[in-house]
C-alpha cells in the first residue's frame, strides 16, 4: 500500500466520523434525557385529586390495570398542541388516562381543562413537583405507559402524536391486554 495515501485515509476517516455525528444528531434528540425507569416499577406515590384535594389517588389505587400517565400543565405551551390529540384519541387507547398536573396552580389547571376539555379519567395534582422528580420528569408534556403490574413500559417526552399512538402505544397496550386478559 502506498504510504502517501495514509494522510488521505486519515482525512476520510475523520470525515466519516463527522458525517456520522451529523447523521446521529439529526436522527436523535440529543436533549432527550433517557429514562432509567423503563422496565422498572413505577415509583410509589399518593397525590391529591385536582378536583378534590381532600381525596388522594396513589399507585396502589391504580394497581391491577394498565394506565397512561400524562404529565401536563396550564403553563405548558406544547401541552396545548397535545391536548386535541388526547381529546380525540384518548378513548381509543382503552386504558385509564391519568392526568398528572405538574407544578401548576389548581385554579389555572381547572380553568385550562374547562376551557379546552378534559380528556382524563382522573387528574392528580403535584404542585411541589416531588413525585415528578421520582418519575424522572424533566418537563411537560411527558407520557408514561404503566402496565397492570405497575411497571413502566414506555415513556414519551414531548407532545404525543397520532403516529406515536398508532406505532408505540396501541401495540404495547394490545400486548399487555393479551398477557393479562
Amino acid at each position: 500500500m502506498n504510504t502517501r495515501l495514509l494522510p488521505f485515509a486519515g482525512f476520510v476517516l475523520v470525515l466519516a466520523l463527522l458525517g456520522f455525528g451529523i447523521w446521529w444528531s439529526s436522527t436523535h434528540d440529543l436533549r432527550e434525557v433517557p429514562s432509567p425507569l423503563i422496565g422498572k416499577p413505577a415509583p410509589a406515590f399518593a397525590l391529591p385529586l385536582l378536583d378534590d384535594p381532600s381525596k388522594t389517588l396513589g399507585s396502589r389505587d391504580l394497581a391491577g390495570q394498565p394506565y397512561l400517565l400524562n404529565v401536563f400543565a396550564s403553563w405548558c405551551f406544547a401541552c396545548r398542541d397535545e391536548h386535541p390529540i388526547l381529546m380525540a384519541e384518548g378513548k381509543r387507547l382503552g386504558i385509564k388516562l391519568v392526568g398528572f398536573n405538574y407544578k401548576d396552580e389548581p385554579t389555572d389547571a381547572k380553568r385550562w381543562l374547562a376551557q379546552y376539555g378534559d380528556p382524563y379519567d382522573v387528574v392528580v395534582a403535584d404542585l411541589p413537583g416531588n413525585v415528578a422528580i421520582d418519575f424522572g420528569v424533566t418537563g411537560a408534556p411527558e407520557t408514561f405507559l404503566v402496565d397492570a403490574q405497575g411497571v413502566i413500559r414506555y415513556k414519551y417526552i414531548s407532545p404525543i402524536t397520532p403516529a406515536i399512538i398508532a406505532t408505540e402505544l396501541l401495540p404495547r397496550i394490545a400486548a399487555m391486554k393479551k398477557a393479562t386478559p
Binding site: 486519515g10 434525557v33 407544578k103 411541589p128 413537583g129
Partner: protein, 170 residues
C-alpha cells in the same frame, strides 16, 4: 463626554446641568443593577449551617447537570426543576447522605445524563479512551514517518539534505 453632547445642544445652562445629572443618575443605576443581577440568577437561599456545608453543596451541584437548561449546572440554573433538585440535594445532605449516595439517587431517576462526569463502564469506554486511541494512532503514524525519512536521509549526512526545508515534503 456626556457634557460635550449637551454642550453642543441648544439647551440653556440650567437645563444642561439637570440633563447631565439625570443621565449620570441613570447610568449609575444601570451599573449598580448590572452588578447586582447575577445574584438574582438563582434565587433560593438555602439555610446552610456553616461555610463548609455551603462549599460542599456548591461543589456537588456543579458536577450535576440541569435537565432543563442542559448546558448549565444544577448550581447555575434558574429553572424551576433545578431549584427543586437543589432543595432535594440539600435535604439529602442534611439527612447525612454522602455525595455518592445523592448522585445515585439522581441517576436512578434521570440516568447518567445528570452527571457531567460520565462513569466508567462498558458503554462509556470509547468515550474515556477514544482520545487515547487517536493519540496512539497518531503516535504510530509519526513513528513510521520519521523512521522512513531517517532511512532516506541518513542522520549526520548534511550534504544529502536538500537546501530547502524538509517541511516542503508535506
Amino acid at each position: 463626554m456626556i457634557r460635550d453632547v449637551f454642550a453642543s445642544s441648544s439647551l440653556r445652562p440650567q437645563e444642561r446641568k439637570t440633563g447631565t445629572r439625570v443621565l449620570t443618575a441613570l447610568l449609575l443605576a444601570c451599573t449598580m443593577l448590572a452588578a447586582v443581577l447575577p445574584a438574582f440568577a438563582a434565587v433560593d437561599p438555602l439555610p446552610f449551617k456553616d461555610r463548609a456545608e455551603e462549599l460542599r453543596f456548591q461543589a456537588l451541584t456543579k458536577q450535576l447537570r440541569c435537565l432543563v437548561c442542559q448546558n448549565e449546572s444544577l448550581n447555575d440554573s434558574s429553572a424551576p426543576l433545578a431549584a427543586d433538585l437543589r432543595r432535594d440535594v440539600f435535604e439529602q445532605m442534611r439527612a447525612g447522605k454522602s455525595d455518592a449516595q445523592i448522585k445515585e439517587w439522581l441517576t436512578a431517576r434521570y440516568s447518567d445524563f445528570v452527571l457531567y462526569d460520565p462513569p466508567l463502564r462498558g458503554g462509556t469506554w470509547l468515550l474515556w479512551f477514544g482520545p487515547l486511541l487517536v493519540l496512539g494512532a497518531g503516535g504510530i503514524a509519526v513513528f513510521f514517518t520519521v523512521r522512513r525519512r531517517a532511512k532516506v536521509l541518513p542522520a549526520g549526512d548534511a550534504s544529502v539534505r536538500p537546501a530547502s526545508d524538509v517541511e516542503d515534503d508535506w
